[in-house]
């Protein structure tokens, strides 16, 4: 019998199975303030903070986060040395 919602999870599917659903707050990154120091990437327990590769007006490569997997723990916002990240309620 084939199940409409299969219960077996195949290898390499961590990327396709999104885990951001239980977040209550999401981090908003102000790209202009971001100095690209890499602290948010280091502290993120989910590994979802990443350098975007784009430069802001000050010539810094700014960071962002992947909301498909961000669980909204707020560590990045807490640790950001220039307070470029703030947490906002995530409405559905």
């Amino acid at each position: 019998m084939k199940l409409k919602y299969p219960l077996e999870v195949n290898p390499g599917t961590t990327i396709t199975n999104k885990t951001g659903g239980w977040r209550t707050q999401k981090p908003i990154v102000d790209h202009e303030i971001c100095i690209g120091c890499d602290v948010c990437r280091k502290v993120c327990p989910e590994g979802v903070c990443f350098p975007t590769g784009e430069k802001n007006s000050k010539g810094r490569i700014f960071y962002d986060r992947d909301l498909d997997f961000c669980k909204g723990c707020g560590l990045c916002a807490k640790e950001c040395p220039v307070s470029a990240i703030r947490m906002e309620n995530d409405f559905k």
Partner: protein
């Protein structure tokens, strides 16, 4: 001397009969179950002994020891371990079996939910027994009804013949639907009783129940790696549970279908259609509803009452999960009184089957539906008690639950 002669005759007759395929044998209920399991050929049997299930697993252990049983037999340290072991074994894509009851079944509870949630086709025989405290090893059906919400198909047999037939149906359903099935047989009343049973031959069984081959990618296999029993977030859990609920509910159609196949292969039926069995309900004023071995007593009582021109009938529930609402209502619709006979009780409410009948009958009948509790902890259920129920339901103006043959 006379005894010896008699023994000799019985032994010889038995021997001759056993040589013949497809003939009746005089077997103890537990032994009949062990025999049918041997023929069904599970790959793994894991069990922990508990009265009154003991003879089933003892016989299977003997079969293993003598080389008759081709399965792995694993003695576990508890029922929780036995169920966990079967969960793992079943996840590797093989046929599995265990038997338990009462405290043992309750100890398995957490694993039972997991087995159902993981859609593993494990089959369990539950030798229905009362639940402690007070400790009591005798028959009622409290153990099985307590875990009715675990996601298992639950089938109840009246006779040992029905029990072995239900095991065949159970494996067929389990492996097609990817759902676990529990076959319930009343402890002692069936497990320890010798009855003539028609043991199907291996060829017939192979025809009805071919070897279990799950689809690739649905079981643990190093060549096709998958994760089973993984996390489901709020985004997906509800859909998965709804899928389970619907598959169980819709399985009643499949029970009917496989029952037809069963009849073709084995030439006998399990009740009317594998779901229910009606007994003289067509013109009945009072219909009793019950499940398990007590139906035999009720049928005898009905025959006697019919001789006295009392219009009484019985609806036997074989499939408690799924609960076949339409099949049940079809037989109950014309009755004036519906007496539901339970060998279990939902404490603080009433008989579990009674609640179920009331739910199914909502807006479908104007009959008086009342709950009657009998035979808890192995108290004998007699024909007089059945007549008492018929008397009570007509006389009692209220709708309250009755305990039958309870001194207080």
């Amino acid at each position: 001397m006379i005894l010896n002669k008699l023994e000799y005759r019985i032994k010889n007759t038995e021997y001759r009969i056993m040589k013949l395929d497809n003939s009746k044998q005089f077997l103890e209920g537990s032994h009949a179950v062990a025999e049918i399991i041997k023929l069904i050929k599970p790959a793994v049997v894991a069990a922990y002994p508990i009265t009154p299930q003991t003879h089933i697993v003892e016989d299977l252990a003997k079969m293993k020891a003598s080389g008759e049983g081709g399965f792995e037999y694993i003695n576990t340290e508890s029922e929780f371990a036995a169920a966990s072991l079967l969960l793992g074994a079943s996840a590797t894509g093989v046929r599995t079996y265990t038997a338990t009851c009462s405290q043992g079944l309750l100890l398995m509870t957490e694993v039972l939910f997991n087995i159902a949630g993981m859609r593993l086709p494990v089959v369990i025989t539950c030798a229905n027994r009362a639940v402690s405290a007070p400790i009591n090893i005798w028959n009622d059906q409290q153990d099985a009804v307590t875990i009715r919400d675990a996601g298992w198909l639950m089938l109840y047999g009246e006779t040992n013949q029905e029990i072995i037939d239900l095991h065949l149906l159970a494996y067929k359903l389990a492996e097609t639907l990817r759902l676990p099935v529990m076959v319930n047989m009343d402890g002692f009343v069936l497990t320890h009783t010798y009855e003539p049973v028609l043991m199907p031959g291996q060829e017939q069984i192979n025809k009805f129940l071919p070897p279990y081959k799950p689809a690739i990618g649905t079981y643990l296999d190093v060549k096709n790696p998958v994760t089973l029993g993984s996390l489901a977030t709020p985004d997906s859990y509800m859909e998965i549970r709804k899928q389970l609920a619907q598959d169980i509910y819709l399985s009643s159609d499949l029970i009917k279908k496989y029952h037809t196949d069963f009849k073709k292969v084995f030439g006998r039926s399990i009740g009317d259609n594998g779901l229910v069995e009606e007994y003289k309900t067509k013109d009945a004023e009072v219909i009793l509803v019950a499940m398990g071995s007590v139906c035999g007593t009720i049928k005898d009582a009905i025959d006697e009452m019919r001789e006295r021109k009392q219009k009484v009938g019985l609806l036997k529930i074989i499939s408690f999960r799924p609960f076949a609402d339409e099949e049940v209502i079809k037989h109950l619709a014309k009755a004036k009184y519906i007496a539901v006979v339970d060998k279990s009780i939902s404490l603080g409410s009433e008989g579990v089957l009674a609640t179920e009948i009331k739910r199914a009958a909502y807006n479908q009948t104007k009959a008086k539906i009342q709950s009657f509790i009998v035979g808890l902890g192995g108290r004998d259920v007699t024909k007089e008690m059945i007549e008492q129920i018929i008397f009570d339901i007509k006389k009692d103006k209220t709708n309250k639950m009755h305990f039958i043959s309870c001194t207080d």
